[in-house]
Amino acid sequence: MYTADIRKPLVLGGKTYTDVTNDICRPIENKPTNSWWLGFSIAVLLLLVLAGTLAWTVWEGIGTWNVNKSVMWGWDITNFVFWVGIGHAGTLISAVLLLFRQKWRMSINRSAEAMTIFAVFCAAIFPLFHMGRVWLGFWPLPLPNAFGSLWVNFNSPLLWDVFAISTYLSVSLVFWYLGLIPDIATIRDRATTKARKFWYGFFAMGWNGSAKAWGRYEVVALILAGISTPLVLSVHTIVSMDFATSVIPGWHTTIFPPYFVAGAIFSGFGMVLTLLLIARHVMNYENYITSEHLEAMTKVILLTGSIVGVAYITEFVIAAYSGYEYEQYAFANRMFGPYAWAYWTMMFCNLMAPQVFWSKWARTTPWFIFVISIVVNIGMWFERFVIIVTSLHRDFLPSSWVMYHATWVEVGIFLGTFGLFFTCFFLFAKFLPVINMAEVKTIIKDKE
């Protein structure tokens, strides 16, 4: 008989299968609480901001942003990389931790995967709407056309992005959905209204928990996890290639792929922590998301934060050692130039702040973890800002050096994506089980 080799029970409170089902289905089967409505309204409000600012951008032109002749990417691509990065933790938690048989993942992977998908939604907005002619957004797809046919450029990292992001989104969706099917079936079988019976029945695809199905299911989940792992690494590698394959000093760096991946995991875990700590508090899931989970995640944050920190320093040393004046200047400019504030914010948030997790107290105190997780999110946004804007604003020819500050439209779009993200998340929390019931039931009896 296989027993997970863990020190403490991952589910507290002596829950039975029934308790698990009841606890997790409660928000779905009951009317939403006032706090849900409040949060949802705020999110929808922000979503309207997104709609408004995007409409304005399309109506007037990208000129409504403050990007200029030298800094042609600003907040848009910063936000894109930020959101894609956040997305990574979800896949990582469910796929990589599955491969490593880390059972503590089980109560958090569902929401982490949901976060992935919503974050990729948010991310996808930016490359689409940063285009001058968004209505031609389908042109990067290799479709036959009446131009002869004119195809696409397989040399372009942006095209790789198109493939990577769409693959990532669809595979993540499939993975997430696959995991949801047994739980949807559970809700279906508990349904007391026709609508619920119909819709959950529709999405449950006739699942009935047959042992044959479970056998195949486990194999499929394992293989999906197996291919999702290189996928998730490849996606941020390819995103980093947007920069790494260019010639701009500060971008043209071979360290970018691992550095971006570590940063993505780092920021993703930050976001997962932020969300889980809220969900845990609001939905009373303390028994499922225990301090064991929090501690494990803070350790990952500590690790990846340090990897990112090493990358920062490595980058710097390489620049200094390169003997290449443009590269040297680019990094000196990051530290002491007009955007030094962004650089030092990034250094503080990403390198220094996570180091507090060496302390056990810090790793197990939810409010403190929450604060640090926010700091990590801010830091990782600034990392992308530093990479994109400070590299572009002073590159090779000093004649083209410029400053860049966002307009209200750019800020509005960024805030708006939070609206989209949280709208999706609130709907998810209302209509789907936030914790993977089937998996949690398997570890309910796993003891020390």
Binding site: L143, P144, N145, A146, F147, G148, S149, L150, G206
Partner: protein, 327 residues
């Protein structure tokens, strides 16, 4: 020394000066005299119409379908409620009675694959169609012209050389619609009166009215306020594509009919070709250049012989490069 297009013209004959200077018109009129086809056009509006119509219809049908579905659903629900109240058994729907028994026998595996396959085919087909139609096509466009000019009579029956009227086809990017004095070279005498009981043909009369010619006395009316003929353009290439007639006719030795079709048989001209980029590209990929008889292509011809080829296509000579047409 810089010389574009021959030499720069100086010392226009005085008559021309007079013409330029004499006409005290608003600049719009200056523009009016200008043969419009010299400039490419701003819109390819056909695409506007076809696409806007299409999209508007799609939006509309989706909205209507949704409303219809909603209404239908409400009706069904109400009927069910009604029946429940009265206690009568709801009559099984068409679906329940006819379709369901059949579909319930389907093998889900096969059904899944078939449905997925169908969906892919439909979506793929739609995508392909969308891609192909992306550029508006006005093939077959045949508007009514202010004068019912027949190419069949002029080019077909009387075998007038195309270049007689479209005189700039060998010199300029545009073939040019002939100015009225070109028409008058013949129609000063040709009035087709035999068909109209000794009167000037009404179509030819339109020329006279425009240029100010007194058909009865066979002389130009002095001081006549001339009105140009506003022909309707048939071949509308979008502005973003530079097409030069002289390049194709003189250098490429392309027959008019290759692109314009059997123009000598057209009573009413229509657009023969699609004028899509793919159409241009197809020709460029197939057609060879006349490298042997043009000193410009001397090097190309030498290389061609060296490589043992019979001919070099336009594409091989860089004819597929973007800025050959787009700038």
């Amino acid at each position: 020394m810089l010389k574009l297009e021959g030499s720069y013209i100086c010392g226009i004959p005085e008559r021309a000066h007079y013409q330029m200077y004499k006409s005290k018109t608003h600049i719009a009129l200056t523009a009016l005299f200008i043969f419009s086809s010299t400039l490419s056009f701003s819109n390819n509006m056909s695409s506007f119409y076809s696409e806007s119509t299409f999209i508007a219809l799609v939006i509309l049908s989706v909205v209507l379908a949704a409303i219809a579905a909603l209404l239908f659903g409400i009706k069904k629900h109400l009927t069910a409620l009604q029946n429940e109240k009265i206690g009568t058994e709801t009559e099984p729907s068409f679906y329940d009675s006819k379709i369901k028994p059949i579909t319930s026998k389907w093998n889900p595996t096969i059904a899944t694959l078939v449905i997925a396959g169908l969906l892919m085919v439909v979506l793929g087909g739609f995508g392909y169609k969308f891609g192909m139609d992306e550029v508006g096509v006005q093939q077959g466009y045949s508007p009514t012209q202010p004068i019912n000019f027949s190419h069949k009579i002029h080019a077909g029956q009387y075998e007038i050389d195309c270049k007689y009227c479209h005189s700039t086809v060998e010199k300029s990017k545009s073939a040019s619609i002939p100015s009225l004095n070109t028409c008058m070279n013949c129609h000063k005498y040709v009035k087709a009166a035999e068909k109209y009981n000794g009167k000037t043909s009404p179509e030819i009369q339109k020329i006279y009215d425009a240029i100010g010619f007194d058909g009865d006395n066979m002389e130009y009316i002095k001081g006549y306020d001339q009105k140009p003929i506003e022909w309707v353009r048939i071949h509308n290439l979008p502005d973003l594509a530079y097409f030069n007639h002289s390049q194709h006719v003189v250098v490429g030795k392309v027959e008019c009919q290759t692109c314009h079709g059997p123009i000598q048989e057209m009573d009413k001209v229509y657009q023969y070709s699609t004028l899509q980029m793919g159409w241009c590209i197809d020709c460029h990929r197939e057609r060879g250049i006349d490298s042997e008889n043009n000193a410009y292509y001397e090097e190309v011809h030498k290389n061609m012989i060296a490589e043992g080829k019979d001919y070099v296509t336009v594409a091989e000579n860089g004819g597929l490069e973007c800025s050959k047409c787009h700038y």
